[in-house]
Amino acid sequence: MAPKPAGPPQGTLDLLILKSLSLGELHGLGIARRVEQLSRDAFHVRAGSLFPALYRMEEAGYLASEWGESANNRRAKYYRLTALGRRRLETETEEWGRVTQAIALVLRTT
């Protein structure tokens, strides 16, 4: 049996949410599914982490939301990136690149 998927590493949830919304708007569950899909099921996002993050990011102005219909005619709240969110995605991506390079460097040398 494959190991149980873990939550994303601490501090990366925001980046994952921003990335998953960069292709278009999604509802909450859709975001969780997209993260799982993009990470090839490595990460599993719990509702208890996802929704607080969504509300927080919406308040910070990175996301906007509106009510809409899901693919099979269910009502759902859809999130999309704002201009501020897009800029945030760029800076976070850069930042993440620097961090991973640095970590890789550290791991190589020791």
Binding site: H27, G28, L29, R46, A47, G48, S49, F51, P52, A53, Y55, R56, E59, A60, G61, S70, N72, R74, R75, A76, K77, L84
Partner: protein, 888 residues
């Protein structure tokens, strides 16, 4: 920035539309569960199983909601609101503890706020006029006043500046004084009048409610006599009638036409009742000796104070210095009016008052902290349970602090009531003693006082609760819960509590020394061994109008006849007239002793001087030490004579006979007459009671040789109650001139009380602070020792079961309390010695290091400390070991 705005918007949305946000969240979560269920059904699960699995996956709808709430912007406010509600519940749950905390805070906050209100009224208020910050005063820094700013210039300087200046909208001189006023057919009355040169009202930017103010030229000699009435006088004497303009008011017997009425509450610099043009005689302006006039001006729009100062200095430099011949005499300059009016810095006395109030607040806060520490251990169980249920440490601390802030807030309400009463009282005292206070002094509660009280409340609340809260929150939850609900055991008297008690004892020691000194000072005032008698003496003021008594001879003749009539009143033992009563005058002049030479103008000695009539020293039962006092023979045209006081005689005629020596006022002023000393009299507070020494050099000149202005005080010593002679005195004056008003009629004792109100009332304030401190500190000590004793009941039970005797146990508890008191006393006495010097200003003939006070305070604090520890200690020794051990 955008993000900040966003957050603010969210905050408001969350606060005010909380239910809408919650509903949305609810709906969204329901939808998520629905979507998940659909997914799982599609994957082949049964609808019920799919729904259950979906719920499990979401992980509990309520938990998700709670987590979302905690990241929302309004969460903190919501949390605080909940804490406040909880705080109120706790307040009601422990009424005795809560009440004592509220009372303690109320006392501390109230006293501090009252002192702030007083200081604000004196130091932090401005003129209540439009654009008041543009009003400036002219004057100079006078080296003879120790470099203090004298806000007055000579008439010549004023006229010159008024003519040539371009930086002010205008310049105007003013002064105020008492005048006799007769309205229509009423009797004569005495009122405070303002003397304004034309333009003064305009510089203050105050317009009359009726008529006009003074026109240019109305201050010239021979101009038509006019008067502007104050609102109160218009309302009371003319029933507020509009046809008051053109009516007649007699001032000092001379008819004047009413031309205007000022708005209600207007006054400058005090609260005058009517205004007359300040008579300016340009021809007299040549002499610099002319009295100095306070002058105000309003800066033109766009002109800075610097520019104004530069121009005033340039213009004034073209005239001679204020004191010719004195090269160091300072130049005239301009200051903002309030800067000139407010004393520089905080006088030591007010600093001491503020310090005393802060001390009471400090003790109050320490007491609350100790009470909370006591409760903290009792509540550690509750807190531990909450911690175990997942409350974070920060959450617990916030909640405990907010609880105390609720109590502090209730205390603040109480304190503001207390402060309002205290300020009302002090205002009435000042008004009673000093007439109306300056127009800018306002002692009421205003926004600044409320703000100050709020700040103090917050500070005291947080300061007193933070340490107990941190301590409670850091208690190990598991340990406490295992401890069988007994709370943090082993907590006897924490080091923190002990430090607080030491601090409390030390601070109250300082405050008690302060109030002890004050009490001694007040007792001295009451029983003051004044060098003159105040018993059975009636005093009153009387002023002869220049119009009816134009010459010195006419005034002297009436005064002489009045004196004869007064002395003839049955029941009168002695009577006199003088320019001022003992202890209520502060006139000084430079003098020249015959036979001495002085190199520089500043070398001339100074002396106090006063004008007294025959029988002055007999009336006040002051022994004439050598020679004689003035008699009816010391009249105009006779040999000019003077009486020297003891200090004067000692300084200038040391070791020689003073009687027969001569001196004259002024600095080599050859127009002044030489005065021959005919007697030596005791020192009689010629500088007023304010001076501690009570003995400045001084001399007296006879009323009949003084060129008296006609305004005098009469004093009459009676065999019994002096006030019983009031109607006889009135009748005597009426028989001479029915138009003369008799004012400020009171006994000499009340006159002295008025002159010394400052010592008495502010002394009383310190006594209140001292007693409050003593009360709070003893309650605090009692509370801590008693609490610690109760916590040790178990230990005491064991000791007793093992055979310890009652007295041993008492000693055990007593020892710790006694040690704290002794340490606190030692620190406190050292501090008090340092602080007492600042109080010197308001001490009346008391040494700031008075050993009786220091010893008394140490003894009484030790006694109170002993009582506060002995009561709980003896209670513990009577404890029944079986009960004590079984109790837990």
């Amino acid at each position: 920035m955008v993000s900040l705005l966003h957050r603010l918007a969210s905050l408001f949305r969350n606060l005010f539309h909380r239910s809408r946000v919650e509903r949305e969240l609810d709906a969204e979560l329901v939808d998520v569960v629905q979507l998940l269920t659909d997914e799982k059904v599609r994957a082949g699960m049964s609808p019920e199983a799919a729904r259950r699995a979906a719920l499990v996956e979401v992980g509990g709808v309520e938990q998700v909601k709670e987590e979302v709430r905690s990241v929302q912007a309004g969460a903190l406010v919501e949390t605080v609101a909940r804490d406040v509600r909880f705080g109120v519940r706790m307040l009601l749950k422990y009424p005795v503890l809560s009440l004592s905390v509220v009372l303690t805070f109320g006392l501390g906050i109230g006293l501090t706020t009252a002192v702030f209100g007083l200081l604000k009224g004196i130091f932090l208020t401005g003129l209540p006029f439009e654009g008041a910050e543009r009003i400036v005063a002219l004057g100079f820094y006078d080296p003879e006043l120790g470099g203090r700013f004298e806000d007055a210039v000579s008439l010549r300087q004023f006229l010159h500046l008024r003519e040539h200046q371009t930086v002010f909208e205008g310049l105007a001189a003013y002064s105020s004084g008492e005048v006799n006023v007769t309205v229509a057919d009423g009797g004569p009355e005495r009122h405070t009048a303002g003397f304004f040169s034309p333009g003064a009202f305009e510089q203050l930017s105050v317009r009359p409610v009726l008529g006009r103010t003074f026109r240019p030229g109305e201050d010239a000699p021979g101009a038509a006599p006019v008067v502007v009435l104050g609102y109160e006088m218009w309302r009371d004497r003319f029933a507020g009638s509009a046809d008051v303009l053109g009516r007649e008011v007699r001032v000092h017997g001379a008819a004047r036409t009413v031309v205007g009425v000022m708005p209600e509450g207007f006054g400058f610099p005090r609260r005058e009742r009517l205004w007359l043009p300040l008579p300016i005689d340009g021809s007299a302006a040549g002499q610099w000796q002319n009295r100095l006039y306070p002058v105000i001006g309003r800066l033109r729009e766009g002109t800075s104070l610097d520019e104004a100062q530069a121009q005033v200095a340039t213009l004034a430099a073209r005239l001679e210095r204020p004191r010719p011949g004195d090269a160091r005499a300072p130049a005239v300059t301009a200051l903002r009016f309030m800067d000139a009016a407010h004393p520089k810095g905080l006088p030591a006395f007010f600093a001491a008052l503020l310090g005393a109030a802060a001390g009471v607040l400090l003790i109050a806060s320490s007491n609350v902290a100790n009470l909370l520490l006591a409760r903290a251990s009792a509540r550690s169980h509750e807190v531990a349970v909450r911690a175990a249920l997942g409350a974070s440490r920060g959450r617990v601390v916030t909640q405990l602090v907010v609880e105390v802030l609720v109590l502090a807030g209730a205390g603040a309400v109480l304190g503001l009531g207390l402060a309002a009463c205290a300020l009302g009282w002090i205002t009435s005292q000042i008004t009673a003693a000093e007439g109306d206070a300056q127009v800018w002094m306002r002692f009421g509660l205003d926004a600044r006082v409320f703000l100050f009280a709020a700040g103090v409340t917050l500070l005291a609340g947080v300061a007193s609760s933070l340490v107990p809260a941190l301590r409670t929150a850091s208690a190990d939850a598991m340990g406490v819960l295992k401890d069988g609900g007994r709370g943090t055991s082993g907590l006897r008297m924490g080091r923190f509590s002990s430090a607080l008690i030491v601090a409390e004892v030390a601070v109250s020691c300082v405050l008690l020394v302060g109030s002890g000194l004050m009490i001694r000072s007040m007792v001295r005032l009451g029983t003051a061994d004044l060098p003159f008698s105040t018993r059975n003496i009636l005093t009153a003021g009387i002023a002869l109008p220049r119009l009816d008594y134009p010459t010195e001879g006419a005034r002297a003749s009436l005064q002489e006849r009045l004196l004869q009539l007064l002395a003839a009143i049955p029941g009168a033992e002695a009577a006199t007239l003088s320019d001022n009563l003992p202890g209520s005058v502060d006139n000084s002049t430079a003098i020249e002793i015959e036979g001495s030479s002085y190199a520089r103008p500043s070398d001339y000695p100074r002396a106090q001087w006063q004008v007294v009539g025959p029988g002055y020293f007999r009336t006040f039962e002051a022994a004439v030490l050598r020679g004689r006092e003035f008699n009816a023979g010391d009249r105009r045209g006779a040999l000019p004579v003077a009486l020297a006081n003891e200090s004067f005689a000692r300084r200038h005629f040391a070791g020689q006979e003073a009687v027969g020596r001569r001196f004259r006022p002024g600095r080599g002023d050859t127009t002044a007459l030489w005065l021959t000393v005919v007697g030596v009299v005791p020192d009689m507070y010629m500088q007023g009671f304010g001076e501690l020494s009570g003995a400045p050099d001084g001399y007296y000149v006879p009323l009949a040789q003084s060129g008296s202005s006609g305004a005098v005080r009469l004093a009459l010593r009676a065999r019994g109650d002096p006030m019983a002679l009031t109607s006889d005195v009135r009748a005597a004056i009426r028989s001479l001139d029915p138009s003369l008003p008799l004012f400020e009629l009171r006994s000499m004792e009340s006159e002295v009380r008025r002159a010394t109100w400052f010592y008495r009332d502010f002394g009383a304030a310190f006594v209140v602070f001292g007693l409050a401190a003593l009360f709070l500190a003893s309650v605090g000590l009692y509370g801590v020792v008693s609490f610690s004793a109760t916590r040790r009941a178990h230990e005491m039970g064991i000791r007793m079961a093992l055979g310890a005797e009652g007295p041993q146990l008492v000693w055990l508890v007593l020892r710790k309390g006694a040690a704290l008191v002794v340490i606190g006393l030692a620190v406190g006495l050292a501090l008090a010695a340092a602080v007492a010097d600042a109080l010197g200003v308001i001490l009346f003939q008391v040494d700031p290091r008075d050993p009786v006070v220091f010893g008394g305070v140490a003894a009484s604090l030790a006694l109170v400390g002993l009582a506060a520890t002995l009561i709980p200690a003896s209670r513990i020794s009577r404890v029944n070991p079986v009960v004590a051990l079984g109790a837990e």
